[in-house]
């Protein structure tokens, strides 16, 4: 596959994926570009598309979390304050609230949990899809998501 063909096939998907994760459009473009460059450098353009798309989801999520950590936006909010916003968001504002809240949690939760939560909540990945993309067992996926849900549940109970 030529670089032009690889770009046409993968870059728009990478860019949309990054936009779902990141509030700052410039950051989203940067992460999308970095992901595509890595894809090309790793010689993945000729790999089976299923493998490439999984790789793109995994790698762009990690790069976005790295980028958000460097932004240090999380420092302005406490972990509890942010989780509470996520736990109590009403459906209409949930999508935006989730993206904002997850971005604030990047410095405060373990990376593996964040990766799973980003992919599950923003990209709507099912548990089998998460296991495939993150290359972990479905049991581990369930454990990561449960740990996050427990954090939210505790906060909901505190509010009620």
């Amino acid at each position: 596959m030529t670089v032009e063909e690889a770009y046409q096939a993968y870059f728009p998907r990478i860019r949309e994926k990054c936009r779902r994760m990141m509030q700052n459009t410039g950051d989203a473009e940067d992460v999308a570009q970095e992901t595509f460059v890595r894809l090309w450098q790793a010689g993945l353009q000729d790999a089976p598309p299923r493998r490439v798309v999984g790789w793109v989801y995994r790698t762009s999520t990690r790069l976005a979390i790295d980028r958000m950590r460097r932004r240090r936006a999380a420092a302005e909010f406490s972990c509890e304050e942010t989780l509470l916003r996520l736990a109590t968001a009403v459906p209409l504002e949930r999508e935006v609230a989730q993206r904002e809240a997850l971005a604030r949690l990047v410095g405060q939760l373990p990376a593996d949990e964040l990766e799973a939560v980003f992919l599950h909540r923003l990209d709507r990945l099912t548990q089998p899809e998460l296991a495939e993309v993150l290359q972990i067992s479905e049991r581990t996926v369930r454990r990561l998501l449960s740990r996050f849900e427990e954090r939210l549940e505790k906060l909901r109970e505190g509010v009620a």
């Binding site: 030529t2 670089v3 032009e4 770009y7 046409q8 096939a9 870059f11 728009p12 998907r13 949309e16 994926k17 779902r20 570009q33 595509f36 460059v37 890595r38 894809l39 090309w40 450098q41 790793a42 010689g43 993945l44 598309p49 299923r50 798309v53 999984g54 790789w55 989801y57 995994r58 790698t59 990690r62 790069l63 790295d66 460097r70 240090r72 373990p110 990376a111 909540r121 990209d123 709507r124 990945l125 099912t126 899809e129 993309v133 290359q135 972990i136």
Partner: protein
């Protein structure tokens, strides 16, 4: 379908192009304006920008291994990196005076922590995450990690390669790494990559880990240290 109501995951939508996807997903897309709009967006032809076309010239990741003292430089090409490794006699980094050795870092349990110590003249301090380095400063890393037994420190090269600066065993709980690196006057910053793993990584595994920024039983982080070269 995903657990988020009626829509399939974006992964399922993005995979439709290659003939993947269940009848359920295809039927959904046919009747869902939101999912159809997403597909329209990602399937619209786009102009390939110059930076992407430039990748044609780029070779796959190159791999250079070395050790000892290394003068970094943003403008160093891979060939120069090779020369540095060969020409500069590998020399154990000067140990920090014992009174300067920082106390063990205590971080949150579970997540590895990398602390950057900067020696400027006779003064050693923990890097605050923003303070620019100066040419001549020496940088040393302290890694606190539970469950990881190997550490590798390296730096990307301008041509898309990667040079390994240090690799070794990591004691339980972490350690102040024995290597240190002197900052040169080239470029506007230094970029270090720290890789923690449970076993030594073969070159092809390291390449994949770096491309994906992680992997099973591997933890990767980037350290970008700004540098002030003008007074």
């Amino acid at each position: 379908m995903s657990p988020h109501g009626e829509h399939p995951s974006f992964l399922a939508l993005d995979s439709l192009k290659w003939g993947r996807g269940t009848d359920e997903v295809r039927t959904h897309v046919a009747g869902c304006a939101a999912c159809a709009a997403h597909l329209q967006t990602v399937e619209r032809p786009v102009e390939v920008p110059a930076w992407a076309r430039g990748l044609k010239q780029e070779r796959p990741w190159g791999w250079l291994f070395g050790g000892g003292r290394l003068a970094w430089g943003g403008g160093l090409a891979a060939a120069m990196a090779v020369l540095l490794v060969v020409v500069l006699a590998p020399r154990p980094p000067a140990p920090l005076p014992s009174e300067d050795v920082p106390k063990p870092y205590v971080g949150p349990k579970g997540e590895p922590v990398v602390v950057v110590h900067v020696r400027h003249g006779e003064h050693v301090s923990r890097w605050d995450g923003t303070q620019p380095l100066l040419p001549g400063d020496r940088v040393r890393l302290e890694v606190a990690a539970s469950g990881y037994s190997r550490v590798l420190v390296g730096s990307p090269t301008p041509d898309g390669g990667f040079v390994t600066l240090y690799t070794g065993a990591l004691p339980e709980g972490g350690a102040l790494l024995p290597a240190s690196w002197q900052v040169d006057a080239e470029g506007s910053g230094e970029h270090l990559v720290v890789v923690l793993s449970r076993a030594a990584l073969a070159p092809e595994v390291l390449r994949r880990v770096l491309a994906e920024r992680g992997g099973p039983d591997v933890w990767v982080t980037d350290l970008r240290l700004p540098k002030q070269t003008a007074p």
